[in-house]
């Protein structure tokens, strides 16, 4: 798998999202921490329902134990791990593999396992 360093860990905000450029694409990055461990997730920043680049500005949380972000425009929930929209399969977005390497945040264009 090909990894690209996209930004540093300091650019992220704990339990919230930021947006980074990955080539020409806008990717929403989320740093999730439950007190025990930290994990970074990457999905498209494009909100297919609101038709705007805003998913990085949504609130994250869990719905029935699925880790999600709620779109700030119309509040649909997107799974951070798969990009699947919980309310409507037609509103799924792409998810990317992402990892923390030291102070680097790296992503790969392949879908997460």
């Amino acid at each position: 798998m090909q990894w690209t360093t996209i930004c540093s860990k300091d650019d992220l905000v704990k339990n919230a999202g930021v947006c980074a450029k990955y080539g020409d694409q806008q990717v929403a990055l989320f740093l999730c921490s439950d007190g025990q461990g930290e994990e970074v997730y990457a999905i498209d920043n494009w909100d297919p329902v609101g038709q705007a680049n805003v998913l990085s500005r949504g609130l994250i949380g869990t719905v029935n134990d699925t880790l999600v972000v709620a779109s700030p425009l119309y509040k649909q929930h997107i799974c951070l791990k798969t990009g699947a929209c919980l309310e409507n399969v037609n509103s799924n977005v792409n998810a990317y593999s992402a990892r923390i390497e030291g102070n680097h945040i790296q992503i790969s264009s392949s879908a997460p396992a």
Partner: protein, 852 residues
């Protein structure tokens, strides 16, 4: 059926595709072959005209080759079936190839009827049916200025919309005396015509076209039977459809006298191995030209092939749609043709609304209805018509404005009442979902889809759900969400008593999971109204909705609007100039709000700190327009200037606004102060309203505007300023502590046991002994107020978040503005696509010159 049964489907329109989907889900093994005549697989013909407002062929597609492949469905496009060898049970393609079948399904659809007018076969005389047709229309429109649609029915008006979207001067020519003669009566047709003409589309009724000849100023001229004529560059025929039955006719299947393949109640033709569905099929001498009945036929045919028992029993042809942006609805016997039928008509010319009810001779049942300009009653009326329900005592109340509105408590609503109009969910559906085991609101939402569209019915849905559970003796679960087993009031008590200062601490002690978009902002709000810590501190930042995180209001395109506080609506010329200067420098759209201040729209996230730096330097503060907090205290000009005023309402409003600014609450709230009983500040429509009297101030509480307006109740009279403020302190803090999340003051009071009287006891008579504590808590919040923007622009850690990209200085390319009425507005998707095309062509030209 046999496992390996071979099913061949001729035609891949919406109905053919629906059949394939139904059959595949009923029978994973069936060998399905789709033969489509067009070059692409099935797409959405209902929304065809959106092709001109920016939708692409991919957007309209209902499936893809990959999807069919994964479903193990074989298909051929550009495949024209020219023969059916019924004895050998095989179909023959134009290319000569043959395919055998066990069951054959004809979903060949229809073709547009082109009236036999001399000259109808010229280059720019087109039809409107397929994406290929649209491409031809687009090509023709690009070299035309004027376009005519022949046919003023439903499809004709859709086609007119397409021409209008393509930028042509558009005419509609109709043979009948009115538009949409099938669905509308004369009154509805007249109003529809007025509205369409107001959009710049010219309508010509009672016109029989006799010849399409050569024009003078345009390419062609239509000549009409009455001697008049009309010049146009192109002609679109949309004068009805004819069933595509040529193949069936050739192989000797039974057809109707006027065409259409005859089918029985399971959609079989006169050949037991051949089915016909959709617009090519004729059932009891009727063709069904809508997609819903076609889908029903598809389900019936799929069921019959897989040994199911569904039957086709005809279909309701009622429709609700938007034509050229105008809402139109037609139900049942719209023309009152039933013997003894009587009508009720309501017409509101100023607002361009027309509604008609057709009732039976006993005035008991609804037979039909016509709605133009406003179709919000459609769902309810359709329920009455379809279910044969007995009409209310006063049937006209169903269409008259402000009568029988949903202000009635959910408990007395009939089961047929529509709760969610986006997804057409009735109260009965909600009850059904509860019967089927949906134990919480989330479960009801996910199985009925209610409240997942615009969300405007969320409160009504919750009340309906709670009432229903209460009626069953079930204890209503007031847990705020799956992460905390407490109501908002419970969480508020815990936070105050245990002195909890952060969400993480609360979650660790009293919750589970990670939280969500419901509990996080609610807890953020409780923490703010208890401790008033900086909302963007690292502990709190992840709790806020985007509006609170960026201290601005997100608009539909992802940009933000900025509203500085203008307490009481009083503003100096210098500050007005600053607003203008800032708006000009950052190219922001300006609008005056209902709360007497100025809203600046179109700020990119990275511009917000720059904009606020300038505003704060000029003495402005944040207006909290983004928060569930105090918005404004509106005022009239009061005794200082007004010859009727009895007190200084502006001064009082400013002092009240400055006292409560930034106060977080379960819902946004508004206040107003009027200087006399004429009430120019509309204080009785606010959560807290103050009206001056000769002797002091009258206090009103729990009013609101918005979706369900409510007048405020008189709470106390002739108060001096000190007592007035004391009561407001207690009232607001009691509300903040005890209300549910997103509950307005009016709903909160209505739900208090004892209502207004109880509230008076608590606030005025201090019946709970809480008054001192409530006042102290309010004072603590007031003392710790700081302008969040003043702090944010000084804090480099906080401003760091105001970037589009953490790893690039670029801006979001999807944010594009165009000019309208001398200001910016967000570009539509179509305008963005156009702009891109222009940019690309510029790039190409530049490249060419560079190379040369």
């Amino acid at each position: 059926m046999k496992n390996s049964m071979k099913i061949v489907v001729v035609g891949n329109g919406m109905v053919g595709h629906h059949f394939v989907e139904q059959l595949r889900s009923a029978s994973p093994q069936a060998d399905i072959l789709v033969l489509g005549e067009e070059s692409r697989l099935a797409y959405d013909r209902v929304h065809l005209s959106e092709y001109f407002s920016g939708k692409t062929a991919e957007d309209l597609a209902l499936t893809t080759p990959e999807q069919y492949e994964t479903q193990n469905i074989r298909f051929l496009t550009d495949a024209r079936v020219v023969d059916i060898q019924r004895d050998e049970k095989q179909v023959v393609l134009e290319s000569g190839e043959t395919y055998s079948y066990d069951k054959l399904v004809l979903a060949t659809g229809s073709y547009p009827f082109v009236p036999p007018i001399p000259g109808n076969d010229q280059d720019h005389c087109l039809v409107y049916r397929t994406i290929d047709d649209l491409e031809a229309i687009q090509a023709s429109a690009s070299c035309s200025k004027v376009g005519v649609v022949i046919g003023g029915g439903l499809l004709g008006l859709e086609a007119a919309n397409a021409l209008k979207e393509a930028g042509l001067k558009t005419h509609v020519v109709e043979f009948a005396p009115q538009l949409m003669a099938v669905q509308l009566d004369a009154g509805g047709g007249r109003l529809l015509r007025e509205q369409i003409e107001a959009l710049g589309v010219e309508v010509h009724t009672d016109k029989a076209t006799t010849v399409i000849g050569k024009g003078e100023s345009c390419r062609y001229a239509l000549r009409f039977a009455d001697g008049s004529s009309l010049e146009t560059d192109m002609v679109l025929f949309s004068a009805g459809i004819r069933p595509q039955d040529a193949l069936a006719k050739k192989v000797g299947l039974d057809l109707g006298q006027r065409g259409g393949i005859e089918i029985d109640d399971v959609c079989k033709t006169s050949d037991q191995n051949i089915y016909a569905i959709g617009e090519c099929a004729l059932w009891r001498q009727r063709i069904f030209g809508l997609v819903a009945p076609g889908y029903q036929m598809a389900r019936v045919a799929a069921s019959d092939i897989t040994d199911g028992e569904l039957q086709f029993n005809g279909a309701d042809m009622s429709t609700k749609l938007k034509l050229l942006g105008i809402e139109v609805g037609s139900i049942g016997d719209a023309h009152a043709k039933t013997e003894g039928a009587m009508s009720y008509v309501f017409e509101d010319q100023p607002n361009q609304i027309y509604k008609k009810l057709v009732v039976d001779s006993d005035n008991k049942k609804l037979l039909g209805a016509v709605l133009v300009g406003d179709t919000q009653d459609y769902d309810t009326l359709l329920q009455y018509a379809l279910n044969d329900m007995v009409l209310p005592e006063v049937p006209e109340s169903l269409i008259l404005p402000n009568v029988g509105e949903l202000a009635m408590p959910a408990a007395v609503l009939p089961d047929s009442a529509i709760i969610c109009s986006c997804h057409n969910v009735s109260k009965g559906d909600v009850i059904g979902a509860i019967d089927d085991g949906a134990g919480d609101l989330a479960a009801v939402k996910s199985c009925t889809k209610a409240s997942t569209g615009c969300g405007g019915c969320a409160a009504l849905l919750k009340t309906t759900f709670d009432n229903e559970l209460a009626a069953r003796g079930v204890e209503v679960n007031t847990d705020i969400c799956e992460h905390f087993a407490y109501s908002r009031q419970g969480l508020s008590d815990i936070i105050r008593v245990e002195q909890i200062r952060s969400f993480d601490e609360l979650l660790a002690k009293h919750g589970k999971g990670l939280g969500c978009d419901i509990c996080k902002p609610a807890v953020g709000s409780i923490l703010a109204s208890t401790w008033n810590d900086y909302v963007l501190s690292p502990d709190h930042v992840s709790l806020q909705d985007t509006n609170d995180t960026f201290l601005a209001n997100m608009q539909k395109d992802g940009t933000y609007s900025v509203v500085p506080r203008v307490a009481g609506g009083e503003i100096t010329p210098d500050k007005l100039i600053t607003l203008g200067t800032v708006a000009k420098e950052f190219n922001l759209y300006c609008k005056i709000t209902g709360g007497q201040r100025v809203d600046l729209f179109g700020a990119r996230v990275e511009q917000l700190p720059l904009i606020w730096k300038q505003l704060i330097d000029a003495g402005f503060e944040t207006g909290h327009a983004y928060g569930k907090a105090l918005r404004t205290v509106k005022s009239c000009v009061g005794s200082t200037w007004c010859r009727y005023g009895v007190q200084d309402s502006v001064g009082q409003a400013i002092s009240i606004e400055n006292r409560y600014k930034g106060l977080r609450a379960p819902h946004k709230f508004k206040m107003a102060v009027s200087g006399c009983t004429r009430e120019c500040a509309e204080a009785q429509s606010k959560d807290v309203g103050v009206i001056a009297t000769e002797n002091g101030w009258n206090l009103y509480v729990c009013g609101n505007g918005g979706m369900k307006p409510r007048h405020a109740d008189l709470f106390a009279t002739d108060l001096d300023t000190e007592t007035l403020i004391k009561y407001i302190d207690r009232f607001l803090m009691f509300y903040i502590r005890t209300a549910d999340r997103l509950q307005r003051t009016s709903v909160w009071m209505d739900n208090l046991d004892g209502g207004l009287d109880y509230l008076k006891q608590v606030v005025i008579e201090d019946s709970l002994g809480l008054a001192d504590e409530l006042e102290r808590q309010m004072q603590r919040i007031i003392d710790s107020y700081e302008c969040e923007w003043a702090r944010t622009v000084k804090d480099p850690e906080a401003t760091k978040r105001f970037r589009q990209f953490v790893n690039s200085p670029d801006s979001d390319e999807n944010i594009v503005f165009v000019q309208e009425r001398e200001q910016i507005r967000p570009a539509t998707q179509a305008e963005k696509a156009n702009k891109l095309k222009q940019l690309e062509s510029i790039d190409v030209r530049q490249l060419e010159t560079e190379e040369a």
